[in-house]
Subunit: 278 residues, 2 copies
Amino acid sequence: MNERNERTVFFLSDQTGVTAETLGHSLLTQFSGQVFRQVTLPFIDNEDKARDAVVRINAAGDSDNRRPIVFSTLVQDEVRAIVRQANGLHLDIFDEFLAPLEAEFEEAPTHEPGRAHGVSDIEAYMKRIEATNFALANDDGGIGRSYDVADVILIGVSRSGKTPTCLYLALTYGVYAANYPLTDDEFESGRLPDFLLEQKHKLFGLTIGPDRLRHIRKERRAVGRYSSAQQVRFEIRETEKLFRRYAIPYVDTTEFSVEEIASRILDSTGVERRVRVS
Amino acid sequence: MNERNERTVFFLSDQTGVTAETLGHSLLTQFSGQVFRQVTLPFIDNEDKARDAVVRINAAGDSDNRRPIVFSTLVQDEVRAIVRQANGLHLDIFDEFLAPLEAEFEEAPTHEPGRAHGVSDIEAYMKRIEATNFALANDDGGIGRSYDVADVILIGVSRSGKTPTCLYLALTYGVYAANYPLTDDEFESGRLPDFLLEQKHKLFGLTIGPDRLRHIRKERRAVGRYSSAQQVRFEIRETEKLFRRYAIPYVDTTEFSVEEIASRILDSTGVERRVRVS
């Protein structure tokens, strides 16, 4: 029937489903003995869609021969009531957490869907777009650089995670993040260029373990000096020397996801988020 | 004392705090009568840091003259027990949801922090980085374009949200998203170029309300044809004509955040996420 021993997990939302997914993942990673098949059903914002979701949940349960887990963030009581009829283990954040907040605030919740994710929040949208444009214009030491308005300037060797981290900081938090690649110029002189030192308080370093860096670089260029063990070790050693010489705070990205690198940078530098997660 | 009637909300995590923030925001937006000051305390992964957090929570409560709300995702029982001692309304997802999952799976949770956010999940990291590089190389109809390997190709006028949406799809879901700007070339001929039509099944349109588009464009260039009411209306009208002519699915981005646009594209096209939210 279900040889892979799979269990289907549903993420239901009247919005994008990102909150339900984030919640569910935090919990599911606590159980290493299970095999999950994940299905996101976003925009369940009326009773018809709720009934369709019930059909899908029940079908998955029949096929798996065990009931699905249903993580949901459904603000409309009538939608939630329909979904509840599906045969599954239901975990809904509004079911659990709305009542204590209502009591604390002595205010009734609006029960309006679509408030969680910046609908028509044009100001936050603009800030994130501007920050993204800034990150693109100031990527990889680009000539359009305007470090004077940067919130933070990441430095590190090629493929240490600078570009995705800058884009993530911009898209998620509206932070103006530039990045500058450390290359032979810096390693041979043993110093950072003046235009960086003028912004020294904004500099933040990324380093990375040599094995991980080789692995990443080989995806780009399988052979040659760029991904050789010797070159990679040399670059990392010289980079960390520069960080120490100038007392630049840095993080080792080897074990971290882009989210974690970004979060550690904000935590370490005290740079303020220009928008909050919505 | 607290004239602005503020209440401090804490987001505590042994990881980045993104899960706690996401959860909290979904719930807080249900209460429009409150004014919140938000503080994220990430990486609370030992008892010392937990005690520091308690001090900060209690200080905020004293200053506000009302107890803070504390959203948390703390997997270690001993850390959570310390945080609980702070005077606040405590809402922790592990407190609420771990027990029912444990019963369902008949498996004890690991209680290990750091599992939720892709630590050492090199495969997912690589996929997201590769997708981000793809988005950068295939942004704005760039000459490096390789639409044959794209999952989706966004088309729309300048500033309709193509670039941030592509980057978000890449960073969050590892989806290969290219974008191509519609300009006078397409509007005058009334047709799309052949290299797009060859990938017609991958095309997805973005449109936007004229007022919103003008507002966004004026941030870039305050005067001139680019942000004139006439030009903006012309471009949008011609764009939607092209979408209808070729039966290209599209979304109006006027009211949506980047997350929502991305989510609607995945929902509408059925494009599979290459990585899941972690």
